[in-house]
Structure formats: C-alpha cells, structure tokens
C-alpha cells in the first residue's frame, strides 16, 4: 500500500509537502488508517505528527479526525481499503504540524 502524507513542520508560515511511504498492508488486511500511521511512526518516521495522545482507537473520543483520500474521517475507524492512500489534515482549522490541527 502506498501512503501519501501531508507534512508541515511546526514553525509559523511553514509550507507543506507530501511524503510517500510504502507499508506492507493490502486492502484485504482490513487495517485502519490509525494502524497505518502507527506502522509508519514505528518503522519509518517517529516524527510524523498525527493525533496520538488520549486516543481511544475505537471511535469513542472522536479526536483523530483527518482527511482520507479527500474525505473527512476518523483514523481509528476508517479501514484502509485502497491501494493508494492520501492523508491530509482537516481543512477547518489551522495546521499545528503534519496531520494535526489546532484542537
């Protein structure tokens, strides 16, 4: 699975770009977007910012919002079912860093 992720560092006025990661999951595996992010964080790049403190991982706390292939979704309950995944921060608020927007 190819995962394209929006990156923006935490300096003011910084400009974003995309990083691409290849993770060893297929759409058959039924992993969630959160699983994909955890995989990347552990194996490729721990500096990736995605919502990870106070995470319930089962669609209860509602805090891990982001855009998956353009559509607003929760990382923990969205199954990664396409061979190419594009992840962006939510549009409604300013980006703090990468996929995380102001709370």
């Amino acid at each position: 699975m190819h995962v394209e992720i929006y990156r923006q560092d935490d300096e003011n006025n910084s400009v974003g770009h995309y990083d691409i990661f290849v993770v060893p999951y297929t759409d058959e595996d039924k992993v969630t977007v959160m699983d994909v992010l955890d995989y990347i964080s552990l194996h490729y790049d721990g500096s990736l910012a995605y919502y990870k403190h106070s995470v319930c991982d089962h669609g209860i706390c509602g805090r891990c919002g982001l855009r998956v292939n353009g559509k607003a979704a929760m990382a923990c309950t969205t199954i990664a079912e396409t061979a190419h995944l594009r992840l962006d921060p939510l549009r409604s608020k300013d980006v703090v860093r990468d996929l995380v927007v102001v709370p």
């Binding site: 721990g46 089962h58 209860i60 309950t77 709370p103």
Partner: protein
C-alpha cells in the same frame, strides 16, 4: 520564577492532574471546600481516560440504593456485605480502611453522578437494584457535566503533568507540558491531586493511549511509595480482524448473549480443540456471582492454553457458538443488541462496525479473542483520606492502590468517583494551612532539564521504538501467565531498555504537538510501573488474583497475604517491603488453595452480592 524565569507560571491552592472521574470529582470537592483549583488534563474532559472505554456498568449495594438514593432495590445486599465480598474476592489483599471508604461514601457520589448524567441528557439505564449500564462516552460526558458545578475551576486540557515540583519535601506545584503549543509551564500549588488513571504496558490495547502510569511515575519520583504493582486485570479482547483489535466486544458478547439468550460460548484453541472449564467453576464462579469472575475464568483457562502453545498466531482462542441452533444464535444476537444497541449506531459496538462479527456468530463460526488488560490494581500507596506517603500529594482512582487487592471485582467507575472526591476534600483541607511558596530551585531545574533532554537530543533512539520494546518485553514475560524464567527475561530486557535505550531517547522536529517528545516523557513513567511490577511478580512465589504463576499455581495465604510496597531511593536503588494489609472487619485467611480458581470454591467465601439470571 525559582530561577527559571523563562517558564510561564500560574498559581492556585490545589492542582489536580487528570480529567476523568478521579480528576473531575477531586476538582469539584476541592472547589466546594473553598479552594482555588486548577485542573490539568492530558486529554479533554469528557473525552479522555479509560472511562471512555468502559463497557460498562457501575453499581452500589442494595441497602444504599434504597436508603441513600431512594430506589427500588434489594435491601438485604448491605454495605457491610458489599465490603465483605470486595475484600474476599480481592483475595484478602485490599487495604480494608480504603474499602470501607469506598462502600460507605460511594452511594452519595454515585447519586450525584446519575444526576449529572440526567442533566447532560445521557441517562444511564438502571437495571434492577443499584446497577446502571451505559456507554463509556456517556460516562465521560456525565463527568463533564458534573464539572459545571465547579464554575471557578480553571481547566487546562491537552496538557500533561510532567512532575511535582518540591519544596522541603512537600509539593509546591507541578511542571506541565502544553501539548499543542509545545510549551513547559508551572502551576504553583499548595497541594497536588494525582488522578491520571492506571498503566497498561502490553501491545494489545483495550485502553486509551494515556495509560502510561503517569501519576504513579510522577508520585514515585516525588518520593511517594507504590504498592501492588504486580496485579493487572485482563479480560476477553478481540485480536482480529485488525480493525477490531483491542475491542472488548468478545467480553460484552459473552455477558450479554449469555444473559439474554442463555448462549454461553465454548472456548476452542487454534486447532479447534475444546478448552475445558470445569462445570463447577462455570456454575459456581463465572455466571452465578454477578459475572465479575468471568474475566478471571477466561484469563485462567485461556491463559493456560495460550501459554502452553495452543493459541492462534494472533495470540488468541475462539469463542464458539456452533452448538446452538441458528434460531438460538439469532436470539443471542438480539439479546446482545437489546442492551448494547441503545448506545451505538446500528450494527456497531462503540465506533466499530461489527456486522461481520455478528454474521459469524449467526453462522456459528468462531470469533477470535485474546486477553487484554483493562485495569491496574497497583499504584500509589494511599490511605482512606487519599493521602500518599508524601504530605500534600493525594491520589485517587486507578492511580492509587489498595481498593481491590489482587483482583478488581468492584467498579473502577465507583472507585474513581469516591476516591477522587475524597482526595479533593483532603487536598483542600491540607492547602488551608499552608503558606504559598516557590519550589526548590534544584528540584525545578532537575525536572525541567529532564523534560527538555529528549527534545534537545537530536540523534538517538525514537521513544516510539522504546515503547514498542517495553511492550514486547511485557507481552513475553509479564502477561496473564508468568514464570520465573519469563519474568527474569522481562526484567533483564526492561533494565537494558532503561539503562541503554532511554538515556538516548531523541526527538526530531520542534516542540509543538511532538508526539515523540510526549512519548519519551511517558516512557519514564511507564518504566517505573513495569520495572516494579515485574520485580513484585518475581518475588511473589504464589498465584493470587490476576497474578497467575505457571510455576507457583497455589494461593498461599500463610506466606503471601502481604502487599509489596516500594519506597523510592535517592540513589535509584530498590527498597521493597512486605506489609500485611490493614484489617478492620474481615480477618485474613490461613492455609492454601490449589489455584486461583479453587479459591473461589471455598465455602467460607460466602458472597453477599446481587444474583443474576
């Protein structure tokens, strides 16, 4: 301020760490007692803590339900009987004055809690007697509503408490990290309440990611004793499919399909062979006595099978409903949804779509299930006033210890309310007699240095990897079946991680929402918990509650009805002592039981609980 002029600071009487049950009730009680209060919570109030994960239910004894709460309930279930059951089912290891506080003060705060739920329009469903069922989300929203009764409390969310700052051996405030702004700051305070929940060090998670034992680590670094660290409660938790991993749906299925349709699953190993549970155990423990022991039954028998190589590659077993007719299975599914369906979207449990799993149940296919840990019985050593061993530092809820002994058979939800409230009262009373002051320069400097260290270190080991290594070591040796060799290996690896990896934890990027940085700080706390947990488990050469030793299956009342307590040492060394639990009413046992399940067949246990079914 205190030699750290670059740090912003706030000032109050009582600072509370934690934004769930223990934290909210502590803030409320301290506010009502006239204190100035600041509440600092890593997550958001109403959306954080293990409270959002609850399955869930809470209850009070029948007598109090009737007399204190004015409900229809079975009066013969008295507070004394409740106390008696908690102590006995916790394998006699509870601190009895703490249990008395739980049973005597519990009903009043539960009554308020139910009112908050009504006000927030998330009413809990009352089952017969003093028992309520709802969803974790509702349990958390009710807390948020309750905090509105303390309008003067300043609430700082998405902010993690890092350390208590000290002055002459007493707290003078806390150091905190504003997670989104990436900023350290200080809250000066005369008393500190730690209500940050428990610790969960395994890779299979049914708990929130905050469960890194922060309060325990923070309190321990400030000089407070910790106890009972070897006891962690596990329950059936999904291991597959990946999107459901960590869900406690299997446990909830066992309870609610059984309750409504009488459909108890059989348990099968990876090869399809039956994992036998003696009929007597099923009858006399699991289902008969209010379901609380199902968790231990599963942990014991599944744990044995998995440990001895009969588990699936995901580390689980199968729940098998195939002995029922399709009609009976449909009834069981209906029974389940008739209760759980009230809280979630169609075909969902919590936010997870469970249609495929329920189809499997209907078709008589197995449901793959493992054991995940939901609660830590151990934590800061507290008394019935929620005082830790450091004057001015208080703790309640899962951060404390002593309520449930070796196994949690009562409600964590009641514990968080009743102890948080008491901790808040005690902290406010303590703060009344103290002049404000600034922390020792050295104490502040050390804490600030420690907090910044991983951020300043630009090359080294990612804290995310350190966490994965800690979890791997705990999975292998500290889980639901323990042996000398396994525990020794876990200890060795944990100590290697502490001495070789952790001093080199490094973080890339700047401070704002830097999850590696936060993880690095959390790992310091988790390490305190797991190292002492493993040490205590190694020392305890018997089985008791959720501490199940494959090499020492007996419950040895003569030698081991003791709590193991650690005092922090200035030089970082280990100081462990054993103490007999304080007894007020229930005398301790003598003799031995063959194993933890046989313990429950003792005629002298004499339960005084609600009966079900």
């Amino acid at each position: 301020m205190a030699g750290n002029s670059e740090l912003r600071f706030l000032q109050t009487d009582v600072v509370v760490a934690g934004g769930a049950g223990a934290g909210v009730t502590a803030a409320l009680a301290a506010f009502r007692a006239g204190a100035d209060v600041i509440l600092v919570s890593k997550g958001k109030v109403g959306r954080s803590g293990n409270v959002v994960m609850a399955g869930g239910s809470l209850s009070v004894d029948g007598y109090s339900a009737k007399k204190v709460m004015g409900l229809e309930a079975d009066e013969s279930i008295s507070p004394e009987g409740w106390f008696d059951s908690l102590v006995k089912e916790g394998f006699y290891l509870s601190d009895q004055p703490v249990v008395e506080q739980f049973t005597s003060d519990g009903p009043a705060i539960v009554k308020e809690y139910i009112q908050w739920a009504q006000r927030a329009n998330v009413p809990f469903k009352q089952l017969k007697d003093g028992k309520w069922v709802s969803s974790g989300r509702n349990f958390a929203l009710a807390l948020k509503e309750g905090l509105r009764d303390a309008p003067g409390v300043e609430i700082l969310e998405d902010t993690s408490v890092i350390d208590v700052l000290m002055r002459d051996g007493r707290p003078a405030g806390i150091l905190a990290l504003d997670i989104y702004r990436g900023e350290l700051f200080v809250v000066l305070a005369k008393a500190v309440v730690l209500g940050t929940g428990g610790y969960q060090p395994f890779s299979l998670k049914n708990s929130v990611t905050d469960m890194t034992g922060d309060g325990v680590g923070i309190g321990f670094r400030a000089g407070a004793d910790i106890a009972d660290m070897e006891f962690l409660l596990s329950l059936p938790t999904a291991v597959a499919p990946p999107y459901l991993r960590g869900s406690i749906l299997p446990y909830v299925l066992i309870v609610y399909c059984g309750l409504k349709g009488g459909a108890w699953p059989q348990f099968r190993d990876a090869h399809g062979d039956l994992i036998a549970v003696p009929e007597e155990i099923m009858e006399k423990t699991a289902f008969y006595k209010g379901f609380k022991l199902i968790k231990l039954v599963c942990t014991y028998y599944w744990g044995e099978a998995i440990f001895h190589g009969r588990g699936t590659k995901n580390g689980g077993i199968f729940l098998d409903y195939s002995r029922y007719t399709p009609k009976q299975r449909e009834e069981a599914v209906k029974g389940y949804f008739s209760v759980q369906g009230e809280y979630y979207a169609t075909n969902h449990y919590k936010g997870d779509d469970i249609s495929r799993v329920m189809d499997n149940l209907r078709d008589g296919k197995g449901i793959e299930t493992g054991l995940g840990f939901e609660y830590s019985c151990g934590g800061l050593l507290i008394d019935e006033h929620m005082r830790t061993t450091v004057p001015g530092i208080f703790a309640g809820g899962e951060t404390g210890s002593g309520t449930f002994g070796a196994m949690r058979v009562g409600d964590g939800l009641v514990e968080m309310l009743v102890q948080g409230y008491k901790a808040g009262e005690s902290a406010a009373a303590f703060a009344r007699n103290i002049e404000p002051g600034t922390p020792d320069k050295e104490s502040t400097r050390c804490c600030v240095e420690r907090a910044y260290a991983p951020l300043r270190r630009k090359t080294g080991i990612s804290p995310v990897l350190v966490q994965a290594r800690i979890e791997k070591a705990c999975d292998a040796g500290f889980g639901f079946r323990r042996t000398e060799a396994g525990l020794l290996a876990a200890l060795k690896e944990l100590r290697r991680i502490r001495t070789e990896d952790m001093p080199h934890m490094a973080v890339s990027g700047g401070p704002r929402y830097n999850i590696e940085w936060l993880t690095a700080l959390q790992m310091e706390n988790l390490m305190v918990c797991v190292e002492h947990g493993v040490l205590a488990a190694l020392e305890r050469k018997e089985s008791r509650g959720n501490h199940i030793r494959d090499d020492y299956p007996q419950v040895d009342h003569d030698t081991w009805t003791v709590r193991q307590i650690f005092t922090p040492m200035a030089d970082g060394g280990i100081n462990m002592r054993k103490e007999t639990p304080r007894v007020t009413k229930v005398p301790l046992l003598r003799g031995k039981d063959e194993n933890v399940m046989q313990f429950f067949l003792r005629p002298d246990l004499d339960y005084k609980r609600y009966q079900w079914g």
